[in-house]
């Protein structure tokens, strides 16, 4: 008996794979390699980083407060006002910088709520299947039958327009919660469908069967075993829709149902009172329009790159 055990140990030692200690630099390089093959992804990452940084550091970065009239009306870009002033004499650059707070706060939280809600429903619906799946799907289809911006407008009307007023991005995030919630509802269905289809595939795999056999509870199987395996989809979905969320926020503010009047917001600054000066003073739109376009572009590039890297079917592609 003892001889048999020794023989098995020897065999294990002989055929065991050889593990080599990998340096941190090598790990970093391995992680960076797919990114280095995708420069647009890096561009997107930089833009996204800058957008969040601008939102958080707005009070430090902005040369002026966003709301006071700090210059003459419709000053063209100059040394004091790098992007000029609007018709009320507000500094366009400062408003653009502060405008990032609303876009990032609503963009992040609306996407977070939409993705979290969609992921939860997708896992539950996909794992249980049957009548629960049927009911969740039909309810979500009803929700999805409303165009996203219409649904958001209805919810904003029902919950009341946000009452924001802070210059801190975290405070602003809380004050804009109703707007974030309203926008997020339009995305839950799409996220849920993606995650559900991934769960349908995952739940038939042996590791789930093994977890069931070992007596793991249903919530444990769903959220400790399946969720980590569908997480790449969650990340990709998050970065893909955040750009759309920012655009919807801008659209709602443009229509006058988003942030309150006067609050620096890219959407609001492209609407109403500024719009009548676009022809005579194009700089009033240059700041918010460029910031909005670049940020959405950045998130889209980042989303595409993450999808390429994290989706096994696309791994290795350029």
């Amino acid at each position: 008996m003892a001889q048999e055990i020794r023989a098995q140990t020897l065999e294990a030692e002989l055929f065991a794979p050889e593990f080599r200690k990998v340096s941190f630099a090598e790990t970093l390089l391995a992680a960076a390699r797919p990114w280095l093959r995708r420069p647009m992804g890096i561009f997107g990452l930089i833009i996204v980083f800058l957008a969040f940084f601008t939102a958080i550091a707005a009070p430090v970065l902005a040369p002026f407060d966003a709301q006071p009239f700090v210059g003459a009306s419709l000053e063209s870009p100059n040394g004091t006002h790098l992007l000029g002033t609007n018709n009320l004499g507000q500094d366009v650059l400062s408003r653009t910088i502060y405008g990032a707070q609303v876009s990032m706060a609503v963009g992040f939280w609306a996407t977070f709520i939409g993705v979290a809600g969609g992921t939860f429903l997708g896992i539950v619906s996909g794992y249980f299947g049957g009548w629960l799946d049927l009911i969740v799907q039909r309810i979500m289809e009803v929700l999805a039958s409303f165009p996203g911006i219409m649904l958001a407008l209805i919810v904003v009307a029902a919950l009341g327009r946000p009452k924001e007023g802070g210059s801190d991005v975290l405070v602003l995030s809380w004050q804009l919660r109703s707007l974030s919630l309203a926008i997020s509802l339009g995305f839950i269905f799409g996220v849920m469908r993606v995650i559900r289809s991934a769960v349908l595939k995952e739940k038939s795999l042996p590791y789930v069967e093994a977890a069931v056999t070992l007596g793991a509870s249903t919530p444990r199987i769903m959220f400790r075993h399946i969720l980590p395996n569908v997480f790449p989809f969650v990340i990709v979905t998050f970065t893909t829709i955040i750009g759309a969320v920012i655009l919807i926020e801008a659209g709602i503010s443009f229509l006058g149902y988003g942030v309150s009047i006067g609050t620096p917001s890219w959407g609001l600054d492209l609407s109403n009172r500024n719009r009548e000066y676009f022809l005579v003073a194009p700089w009033v739109m240059a700041g918010p329009a460029t910031a909005l376009t670049l940020t959405v572009l950045g998130f889209n590039f980042l989303g595409d790159t993450l999808r390429d890297i994290l989706d096994p079917r696309l791994r290795g592609s350029r």
């Binding site: 004499g89 006067g262 009172r273 719009r275």
Partner: protein, 558 residues
């Protein structure tokens, strides 16, 4: 007769003369005449032609064409409850009225369904109706004749209604009777100064002649009236198509209206309005914003006539006098000190506005106060504002809700300017906006703190002075000063029918109100800015009502 309108009733300017006078004016001249607005008070032909005309010099009127107009909203067809509907839709085209108002203290009205109007004494008005007028040929009325009974029944129907502008019926009118088929007699409770005001006898809503068969269907069914146009097709709050009423009395002139149809579009977006005007879907573009007006005028070239005149609309901020801190005179005074009217003119109106000296529009020239009497009260002094607020231990963290009626980019800018001015002295505003349909019920339910915005064009002191009274009466129920002395003075003016005496009391009341830092602050009188399609002839400009039906306007064909 020693009445408010005595000079008019003594030597009345006929409509033909009035328009002929107007015809001599260019549109810009018409604007200037409106600015003059009874300034000399002397009556006569030139003074009588305050309503301008695009002139009849292009020859004989031509028939045909569809005139396009625009407005911001209309959520029901009921012209009694819906301010938009009486101001710019059915109230202007479908329903006829005994008279329509003109901004001219010497020629304050034009006879419409009434062939004549007599005032045997100060509390009696006798209207003789034109004979043979017919309602539109739609059920349930089916083209029956319009009689005096219809006018009387409308007045009786309107009187008990809630939340409509029935001030005349409730407070002025003692009884309306129809002694015969074509005679209507209004007996008033007491003499009244501003009878022919556009919100009293000239009100396009409650003074419309409505067939009694439709009283219970005003909101839901096709409007049936006896006006120059018949409602043909409509999509609520989108588009209204009115076709020519061949049976229209034409104020005694055959062939009116000259045009075949009128379309009114609900348009709010500046780009949509510009597109509609350039494509000739609309022919009269009211109030393009200050920021775009001059550039647009240049680019529209000969396609449009540019019309500018000092508006009759006060642009005000108003406080809700049932709530703190507005009841504290120190707070109101601080707000007066915080308000910088020149900054409003420079930033919002790009210089196209002037500072009023009192409560009323600068265009109401006879009622203007001497600037030296009121300058001290309107003085911009943030330091004094801070002192006043400090004396009342004002909590600078408290937030006041400032609302305006949207969509209106001019008012939106004004609200933001006002917020900054208030912030400079330590008063925080949160700006909110509501559409007209929501805003009016809110003020009636007392659900507001402060308001900022423009008002309709008021052709007499009636409504703007009432805004300072404890009982504002009108649909836009901003609360007044709640001062019994001021209430008495305002009421006295309303009952003083002698024009000169009336002017004196109104001036006195304005000055007293300003001394008390009334809750109704007249920020600016802006220039009204409009574009009119150049093909239109004989177009009447009535500053108290830019949406009149203008049955005798016509299109000049190429």
């Amino acid at each position: 007769m020693n009445s408010y309108w005595d000079r008019f009733t003594r030597s009345r300017v006929s409509r033909r003369r009035l328009l002929a006078g107007g015809a001599a004016l260019s549109l810009a001249g018409a604007g200037l005449a409106v600015v003059g607005c009874g300034g000399d008070g002397g009556g006569g032909e030139s003074g009588g032609a305050q309503t301008g005309s695009t002139g009849g010099a292009a020859g004989e009127p031509q028939t045909g064409g569809t005139y396009g107009a625009h407005y911001t909203t209309s959520d029901t067809l009921n012209i009694l409850t819906n301010a938009s509907e009486y101001a710019a839709f059915g109230g202007q085209y479908v329903y006829d009225h005994l008279i329509t108002t003109r901004t001219n203290e010497n020629a304050p009205y034009v006879l419409e369904a009434a062939q004549s109007l007599e005032q045997p004494d100060e509390i009696t008005l006798t209207f003789k109706l034109r004979q043979g007028m017919k309602f539109h040929p739609f059920p349930p009325v089916n083209g029956r004749e319009v009689t005096a009974e219809d006018v009387v029944k409308t007045q009786e129907f309107v009187t008990p209604q809630a939340n409509i502008e029935n001030n005349f019926q409730k407070n002025f009118l003692d009884k309306a009777t129809a002694p015969d088929k074509y005679t209507v007699v209004y007996k008033l409770k007491e003499p009244r100064a501003y009878l022919f005001d556009s919100r009293i006898l000239g009100h396009p809503g409650p003074q419309a002649i409505i067939p009694y068969e439709t009283f219970d269907k005003l909101a839901s069914e096709r409007q049936v009236g006896s006006g120059p146009f018949m409602l043909d097709q409509w999509v609520i709050s989108t588009r209204y198509h009115y076709v020519r009423n061949p049976e229209y009395h034409g104020r005694g002139k055959k062939g009116l209206p000259y045009r075949d149809a009128t379309d009114v579009f609900v348009l709010t977006d500046a780009a949509a309005l510009e597109a509609a005007f350039r494509s000739e879907q609309i022919h009269f573009w009211t109030n393009p914003t200050a920021g775009q007006y001059d550039e647009l005028a240049q680019s529209l070239g000969s396609m449009a006539k540019k019309i500018e005149y000092l508006s009759l609309s006060p642009f005000t901020w108003n406080m809700n006098m049932t709530k703190a801190p507005f009841t504290d005179q120190r707070f109101r005074q601080a707000m007066y000190r915080a308000t910088n009217r020149q900054q409003f003119i420079d930033l919002v109106w790009r210089g196209k506005a002037v500072k009023p000296t009192g409560i009323l529009s600068v265009a109401m020239k006879p009622y203007q106060l001497d600037a030296k009497d009121t300058d001290a009260y309107f003085k911009h002094d943030p330091a004094e504002a801070k002192q006043l607020l400090s004396a009342m231990n004002w909590d600078s963290n408290k937030e006041i809700e400032l609302f305006f009626i949207s969509p209106n980019s001019t008012t939106e800018q004004a609200a933001e300017v006002f917020r900054q001015q208030a912030a400079a002295v330590g008063i925080k505003f949160r700006i909110v906006s509501f559409g007209l349909a929501e805003a009016l019920p809110r003020t009636q339910r007392n659900e507001y703190e402060m308001f900022i915005g423009g008002h309709p064009g008021y052709d007499t002191p009636s409504v703007p002075m009432r805004h300072n009274h404890s009982n504002p009466i009108h649909q836009f129920a901003v609360s007044g000063l709640k001062d019994p002395e001021m209430d008495a003075l305002i009421e006295k003016a309303e009952k003083t029918t002698n024009f000169e005496e009336n002017v004196k009391i109104v001036k006195q009341a304005q000055l007293e109100l300003i001394k008390r830092y009334t809750s109704y602050y007249n920020i600016v009188t802006a220039y009204a800015r409009q574009f009119l399609n150049s093909k239109i002839e004989n177009f009447e400009i009535e500053p108290s009502n830019t949406a009149m039906h203008r049955a005798d306007m016509w299109f000049r064909k190429a």
